[in-house]
Assembly symmetry: C2
Homo-oligomer: 328 residues x 2
């Protein structure tokens, strides 16, 4: 079994590589739910959906989120009413949120609903929210954020939900701190700790260390379970040549006092990961990475195509001695 | 001021007639919310929306509910997941429910949200839910209902929500009783009792007496306020020649021990309405209606066109001595 700790877009691409090189039946994605939000009464799980839609081959490749063939009739109507429209909910995507919310209201837990949704997309791998309990990544602003189109002004020190930071404010305001609300009381989804304990490899996907991998590890027991398997834990750096491929990971690392580089990532991950995979662009920093106490593997990590994602998956698993299926 | 007690389709057509013959600024629709439901986490108010969409000229004329130019992408996705899809939610219509649910979650009451929605559609008249508190029309089945496509079987004596009876089971099962849950604790929306008290006319629209007008009158204070204005209260019979123009009103009246005729309607309405407007098809029953203690007015009541709706509105108001604007 391969367990992957996953955020959204980067993790989804990595998983799309992994399913090409190992039997999807032996693959479990443990997904961040700190990004989840309730909007318009609907329970929205952006990372679960990005992983699901990507692996279903149904992701909107133009945006990197949402579904192909999407229309925006509901959003247009919300805008007519002057309602909250900063979080883009396409009509097809809404169907997922409607279903999820209805099932949760009937008493199903998020893991059950996620299994139902992924089954409807014929995904081979298991996609599991790290917890079925409420987990909310909260961001405290380091500076005043002026009023913008669709977002009210906020003073420095304000704490807002992750999506208000990420989507509503386009992650354009510096961050003073990040808090994973609900983490203390959250219980790992049944099976997650056992999956980690029994995994041949635990892959930390190239996701934001603070707000994607952070909430996964913040669920009590998960960090400990991962740390216990440190030799089999291999992380892929989401930072390439000092920059995030997508999103604010680089700025956020700097703002929170870390180094926005593979070395900064190595420092964060060394306590629980035995190996860090870094991009060829960072080949000159191998010694610094290894000085943090991890093995370092250099390979192309930018997943521009299914082939490069498969190659990265292969190199990542090879780094912890897991055999992969030959290229077809 | 003209106050209209309103259900869905029939009331919406009547209101579309009234706005042609009186200044819409002097028109208030007090609308049933016993049909409301929460589905997929969304607060859905079918009668408020039918009234709003009809008066906006945006009703789907093929179905009689929902919006023109509708698409069904969200529903198709819910169906992919095997979710609840018996209640037809079009993508545009969803925008209304998303907005309403979000505003309610922010603490706005249903009357405020309804005012915002109707303002966005540029409706001239006031559309007011009879109460902002939860009101739920519950139906107890008089017979076993076999399992159908999309609806589980239920034994006689089961109590289900109105939409489960009306939409999910296509009102195909006999009814033993109707209960307006929440009525005891519901408070009339502020302004409703005053509007009735000060109205030049109170029009009871041609809606189902039991499940559309019934819940409106069940809100404490409303029946009393209407009864106090009995001389100015004029009802339009929803039963024409022994049949409902739409929906199960005729069968339901019979099942609940009433007569499915203008005389049966007269018996139900006589305590609070001074006048009943009946269709020409029932002209031979004027004496029987008047024997119930109401004045009876005979006029075409089937609203096949805007012109016939305007003529009905004119005749209805004339019956209680309210002058209308001349035809343009």
């Amino acid at each position: 079994m391969i367990v992957t700790l996953a955020g959204g877009v980067g993790a989804a691409r990595m998983l799309a590589g992994l399913v090409q090189v190992v039997d999807p039946d032996h693959l479990t994605a443990v997904v961040n739910v700190g990004d989840d939000l309730v909007l318009h009464g609907l329970h929205i799980s952006p990372d679960l959906d990005t992983v699901t839609y990507t692996l279903a081959g149904a992701i909107n490749t133009e945006t990197g989120w949402g579904l192909t063939g999407e229309t925006w009739q509901a959003r247009d109507m919300v805008e007519r009413y002057g309602g909250v429209s900063w979080f883009g909910l396409g009509d097809r995507d809404l169907g997922t949120h409607l279903y999820r919310t209805q099932r949760l209201s009937e008493g199903a837990d998020l893991a059950t609903v996620t299994a139902e949704i992924t089954a409807a997309w014929d995904l081979g791998l298991r996609v599991v929210p790290v917890t079925c309990d409420p987990l909310r990544t909260m961001v405290t602003l380091a500076a005043d954020d002026p009023e913008g189109p669709g977002s009210p002004g906020l003073p420095a020190g304000s704490e807002i939900g992750f999506q208000e930071y990420f989507v509503q404010r386009h992650h354009s305001v510096p961050v003073a701190s990040v808090r994973i609300a609900g983490a203390d009381a959250a219980r790992p989804t049944p099976g997650v700790l056992d999956a980690i304990a029994g995994a041949d490899a635990v892959v930390v996907a190239p996701s934001n260390p603070i707000v994607s991998i952070g909430p996964v590890l913040a669920v009590p027991g998960v960090r400990e379970a991962v740390t216990a398997r440190r030799e089999q834990v291999v992380a892929v750096s989401p930072i390439v040549a000092g920059a995030a491929l997508k999103g604010p990971a680089d700025r956020m690392l700097t703002e929170l006092g870390h180094e926005a580089s593979v070395v900064g990532v190595a420092r964060l991950y060394a306590p629980f990961a035995g190996t860090l995979v870094i991009d060829e662009a960072d080949a000159d920093r191998v010694d610094e990475v290894e000085a943090e106490g991890l093995r370092c593997v250099v390979t192309p990590t930018v997943m521009r195509s299914p082939e490069t994602a498969a190659a990265l998956a292969r190199a990542t698993l090879a780094a912890v001695g897991v055999a992969t299926e030959p290229a077809p």
